[in-house]
């Protein structure tokens, strides 16, 4: 016969293990508190360090700031002056050297042609509103005896297209008028019209 004698009540029983639930709870609490404390400590140190760096940077900025304003002003003025100079220089780059063009024209007139007039027209244009250009056109009026007329005018047109500096400057060379001279039926009158490439100004 077996007899069980309980010397302690079930509610009074304790675990014999050294690793109890309560201990784990206390240790976890302690570790958490330490971790939070450590984290806060590190953050406080970082903030203090940053504040000190910030004071240093602010001191540097106070010294640099007035010099920067002067530098920005100087850069602005320099850009403004460069723009003024560019606008002035555009006057020289946007003009054909007419003395050279007239000389070239005089050299390329075929022998049977007699020139009656030469005219140059000019206007300022802003074609795409992104820049202003000088647009030149040159018009030549002349006459020629009937037998040579067609070939001579075509040769003259080709010569204008080929002779520098005119050849480098013109966009198109057309013959808008070719016909009988009302005064002398044996002669032909013609007009050669040259449109120059636009020259950028602004």
């Amino acid at each position: 016969m077996n007899l069980q004698v309980d010397l302690i009540l079930p509610s009074e029983r304790r675990s014999s293990s050294s690793l109890g639930l309560q201990l784990i709870g206390k240790v976890s609490l302690l570790v958490t508190a330490c971790a939070i404390g450590g984290f806060v400590g590190l953050k406080v140190m970082a903030i203090t360090d940053m504040r000190s760096k910030l004071r240093g940077s602010e001191a540097v900025w106070m010294k640099v700031s007035p010099r920067k304003e002067l530098a920005v002003q100087l850069i602005k003025e320099s850009t403004e002056h460069a723009n003024i100079l560019e606008e002035i220089e555009a006057w020289t780059t946007s003009r054909p050297q007419w003395n050279e063009h007239l000389r070239a024209l005089s050299l390329c007139v075929p022998e049977h042609i007699q020139l009656e007039s030469i005219s140059i027209q000019h206007e300022f244009q802003a074609p795409k509103n992104t820049s202003t250009v000088r647009a030149f056109s040159l018009s030549i009026n002349g006459r020629c005896s009937r037998e040579h007329a067609k070939n001579a005018v075509q040769t003259f047109q080709q010569n204008i297209k080929q002779i520098p500096p005119v050849s480098e400057s013109v966009q198109s060379v057309d013959v808008p008028r070719f016909g009988e001279d009302p005064k002398q039926k044996e002669d032909r009158m013609f007009q050669i019209s040259c449109t120059y490439k636009p020259l950028k100004m602004l």
Binding site: V40, L74, I75, S78
Partner: protein
């Protein structure tokens, strides 16, 4: 510590504990969030200040290079203004233009029949360009009778004398019946003029200031 035996009291105690724990956690979390925010704000401000300082130093160093360039630019503007831009004589531009044209005509062996003022023209400004144009165009029209070679020489000297002057219109008409060697010539000649006539003086003042600034810079170094 033992929880009370009474279930109602036990619940109250447990509730109080829970509230206490939650309040503590919330307070700690708030504190940590505050610290993190402070650190982030300081870090951003520091980075911002460092960026501004770096950018300022770059501006300062490029301004030092700019100073010499600026002096040269102003000097060029003043030189061109004095020699090639047409200035009014007591508000009259024609007098200055006439002096130049008559001198060149004399040098090229032609005599001018007339010099007429066409006027001042605003150069159209493209829409994408801000600010006013600093220059306008002043045009005179001359008329003369001369041979082609002499006319060519006149134009050559005119263009050589002032690289900023532009022949805007030209009409050469032969006179076969009168004199085949002499043509009737009408020519439009365009000069650049300052939009604001005070600009010439202002540029001189700016040049003086720029020189002073450069000298001060040398002295500081």
């Amino acid at each position: 510590m033992k929880l009370p035996d009474d279930p109602k009291d036990k619940m109250k105690v447990l509730l109080l504990i829970t509230i206490g724990v939650l309040a503590t956690v919330a307070a700690v979390a708030q504190g940590v969030i505050y610290l993190i925010r402070q650190e982030n704000q300081l870090s951003e401000r520091l980075a911002d200040l460092e960026w501004q300082t770096t950018s300022a130093n770059e501006n300062i160093s490029s301004a030092e290079n700019c100073r010499t360039k600026n002096v040269h630019t102003i000097q060029s503007i003043v030189t061109i203004s004095e020699t090639h831009i047409l200035h009014p004589i007591l508000g009259n531009y024609r007098l200055g233009a006439s002096e130049v044209l008559e001198r060149i005509a004399l040098g090229s062996g032609i005599s001018l029949d007339s010099i007429q003022e066409v006027g001042i023209l605003d150069i159209p400004k493209p829409k994408n360009k801000t600010g006013k144009n600093v220059l306008k165009a002043y045009t005179v029209r001359i008329s003369t009778h001369c041979g082609y070679a002499k006319l060519q020489e006149f134009i050559r000297q005119l263009e050589l004398n002032n690289p900023y002057v532009c022949i805007s219109t030209l009409s050469i008409i032969g006179q076969q019946d009168v004199d085949p060697e002499s043509h009737r010539v009408v020519m439009g000649i365009q000069w650049p003029i300052w939009s604001n006539p005070e600009m010439a003086v202002q540029m001189m003042e700016r040049m003086t200031q720029a020189y002073k600034g450069k000298e001060k810079d040398h002295a500081d170094q």
